[in-house]
């Protein structure tokens, strides 16, 4: 209905292959970015920024990471949490060993460590696929979790056995550590997430994205077209783990402030997987939607119940959240296996053909 596309024609391939070929979409994304960068930092409360926006964005990034592997390349992974952990721990080691380099650089660089570990555990995908591969990623999850707990070197032999984030500043403004304001941290997280989302969208729309999807849809045909399966899969593992690693590092340095190994347990992997499923396999927009829904559900649910006159305890709320998430997953798989992203696409299509039904 709001899509008035008459007169939007493309005279070159660059315009035709743009991320948002429809001008209304371009306007929409511009508004979202303006609000995210220009309005929210000034209007949102610290609670809103700290407890909702920052983790939402970080989880979105992790979800994009897993989506690259599972959604785009069709490789099921249950080790997301561990790959995030690799990012967090390597960032910690780098930041404490080389304090002269800025923390934000280390946050991004830690992704490479995660990518390396990802490749290592992706190697079995040479010979195995499907659920077998999922077991390989579980091995990564349990092994790495064990490492986080049992190797004190990783936490610089802290007695608490936890990562403790120190204060670091950018242009004199604290960005990490207890003094860092939520606004500052929010803007850093937002910038990293926006840039990395843009890069991911470049990847998935181009040759590499097509290779991933080809491997996912019909690996035999992909191979007969000269796509090297192992390289393609390892690349997916590397990129996916990179994203998860950066998300993990941000989670600790820009959100939690300190973290123990449990932050990167298998439950974290499951949570991210559920975000991918509900958001939509193979969709970047869906990654944000999935993260938003799964992450905000436990926050919104008690308030919703409360406003309905059914105040509930937080434990109960948590249980109900689990049930709702589980039910939603099944619901989505039945109704729309491609999740919220597909629903959004359908809605958009409806708006484009409005008032026609098709």
């Amino acid at each position: 209905m709001f899509y008035r596309e008459a007169g939007q024609f493309k005279t070159n391939y660059r315009a035709d292959m743009a991320v948002f070929p429809i001008s209304q979409d371009r306007i929409g994304i511009a508004i979202i970015l303006i609000v995210a960068f220009g309005v929210i930092p000034f209007t949102a409360s610290d609670f809103m920024l700290h407890a909702i926006m920052i983790p939402f964005l970080i989880f979105s990034l992790a979800t994009i990471g897993l989506n690259i592997l599972t959604g785009y390349t069709g490789l099921l992974s249950l080790g997301t949490g561990a790959f995030m952990g690799v990012g967090a721990y390597s960032c910690y080691k780098l930041a404490t060993n080389f304090p002269e380099v800025h923390i934000i650089i280390w946050i991004v660089v830690s992704g490479f460590f995660s990518a390396a570990v990802g490749i290592l555990f992706g190697l079995p995908s040479l010979r195995i696929k499907g659920f077998y591969l999922a077991v390989a990623t579980l091995a990564a999850q349990f092994f790495l979790s064990w490492c986080f707990i049992r190797i004190p070197w990783l936490v610089n032999y802290n007695v608490s056995n936890a990562i403790e984030v120190q204060r670091r500043s950018l242009f004199g403004i604290p960005v990490t550590g207890p003094e860092a304001q939520p606004v500052t941290r929010y803007l850093i997280v937002l910038s990293i997430v926006v840039v990395m989302t843009w890069l991911a969208s470049n990847l998935v729309r181009g040759r590499i994205g097509r290779m991933w999807m080809a491997v996912r849809d019909m690996d035999i045909a992909a191979e007969l077209m000269g796509i090297r399966l192992l390289n393609t899969k390892l690349l997916a593992f590397a990129v996916s783990s990179f994203y998860c690693g950066v998300a993990g590092a941000m989670l600790v340095f820009l959100y939690y402030g300190s973290a123990e190994a449990t932050a990167f347990s298998i439950n974290q992997s499951f949570a991210i997987l559920s975000m991918v499923i509900i958001g939509g396999l193979g969709s970047l927009v869906g990654s944000f939607m999935g993260a938003a829904l799964i992450f905000t559900l436990p926050i919104l649910l008690p308030q919703l119940m409360g406003s309905l006159g059914l105040p509930i305890q937080s434990a109960t709320a948590e249980h109900i959240t689990f049930m709702v998430v589980g039910a939603l997953i099944v619901f989505f798989l039945i109704v729309e296996p491609h999740g919220l992203a597909r629903l959004w696409q359908i809605a958009k299509q409806k708006l484009r053909v409005w008032p026609y039904p098709y």
Binding site: A6, G7, K10, T11, P355, Y356, P357
Partner: protein
Amino acid sequence: MAQNAIDKSVDTFPKFLLVNARERGQRPAIREKDLGIWQTWTWAQVKDEVKALALGLKELGVERGDKVAIIGSNKPRLYWSMCATQSIGGVPVPVYQDAVAEEMVFVLQHAGAKIAIVENQEQVDKVLSMSDRLPSISHVIYDEPRGLRDYDHTRLKWLNEVQKIGRKAAESKYSGDAWEKMIAEGKGSDIAVILYTSGTTGNPKGVMLTYDSVVISSQNANAFDRLTEKEEVIAYLPMAWVGDHIFSYAQSYVAGYTVNCPESPETIIEDRREIGTSYAFAPPRVYENLLTLTMVRMEDAGRFKRGMFHYFLNHARRWGEKILNKEPVPLGARLIYWLGELLVYGPMKNRYGFTNVRVAYTAGEAIGPEIFRYYRSLGINLKQLYGQTEAAVYITAQPDGEIYADTVGKPSPDVEIKIEPSGEVLFRSPGVFAGYYKDPEKTAETKTPDGWVKSGDAGFFDPKTGHLKIIDRAKDVGKLNDGTLFAPKYIENKLKFYPNIKEAVALGSSRDFVTVMLNIDLVSVGSWAERNNVIYGSYQELAAHPRVYQMLAEHVDEVNKSLSEEGPMAGAQIKRFLILHKELDADDGELTRTQKVRRGFIAERYGPLAEGLYSGAKEVDITTELTFEDGRKGTVSARVKIQDMKTHPPAAAPMDKAA
């Protein structure tokens, strides 16, 4: 544009091309959706392309006065071929590309074309298949090389090759401004183009139009609707039709606006939306199809959407035209209309690709008042005009703000009109044709020595509005045996306004009463059948279905009722009708290439049915021959039912009109 209009020295299209290349060289002249995007050529580029092609043609031996046939769908290179031909003094002869070989051979022979520039393998095959009957043709030039690699290329040339020859010639033989000099030799009084009209009877006639007539007509039209170089039009109607020639070629060259060629016939609606035309021209059929499509789709919509759609449509019906005509409208109605614009009208216009449309014309046939009002109520400035090939289109047109569903407007600028006692409309204008090619006899029949042209249409000026009203072809207006006036087309049009009726053929001249043969609209009736669980296995079966008969009988009854209220027409109500078992088809000769029914031919072809209509039979058996798309022939047999209708008594207040 204004400048062009004044500059009398610019009097041929090649000259306009030079002007455009100079003054708006970087503006888009023509686009084609090809390889997924809109490939664009600026006026400067078009000039280069046309020059190369023109000199190439010259090298192939095209001399001043030679005829060049152009056969194919709307493609930039074919439009360039026209200008290229004109630039070296040749005369382009566009030919209907869907004509079967037999029809094509007549035109090519008659015109004595020296070169045929064709679109693709299909057309090449057609021309080559009759090459022994076309000794005049020295070369066949094709645009699309696919599948032609292994053909004998002694007389066959790829258009790009011709251009290559031309470019080489431009460097040596015709270096400098030799080509521009050739263009300068052209005069306004030269023949610009020969357009063959597909007469309802007999062989096509070649209408010769001079540059003067086409240019002046175009200039007047551009001025009338204030068209500028910024217009975007979609070229999809046959290039051999005068309408396309004027709108997609002549007016574009004169105003400098952009012409867009669709990707394929199937994607026109999509392509039109992408481009968002600002100036549209189409026969009523196009508007009817769009509306039918809309209604069919909305039937499938959810209850809410359907309700909303109809609510706002009703509101628009009431207020839309008034708002468009800038009449005073209450604020409340305006607000609801504004909301409707947001929810329905705007999106609908967007779907049609009419969001940016400034002026849209319907011409060629009468349009259903309902359909006409529908588009206007959405806020689309749809207008009617009356035109003919012999007039370089424009005879009358509706000025902005004076729009009526049942008139064709006031005389266009510089056009004089008079009505003969027989009711026939005569006109005289600078756009009038020079004569029929190689047919002085017919020319004399049609055009009086003092320049008046017999339109062949019967009509009258509406005293209230001063607009012309056309009722039918003058020769088709007949009488029943009791002397009642019988205007078959008038009745047919009334019937065709129902979306379920695709075609109608009215019989009655020199008969006791009026009968009609109907063609159902498969899209509309098919969709109705689906909704109402009417099961059918074929077109024939659906057409014979009792419930379809029942539905159409209601339509016929309504037409009878409206006829009864129209004084002289009241006596010509429909007494009996039948539904034809096959679709009328141009390939079978039942329709003209412009999709007009050939009434006489049909009455003959379906003789048994016509007899049955008057014999009182309830059912008639018939076997008909038909032509498949690939040219094979077959037959189809059917038993067709005939239904009797009641007539309504004439209304009390008779209206006194019609000649």
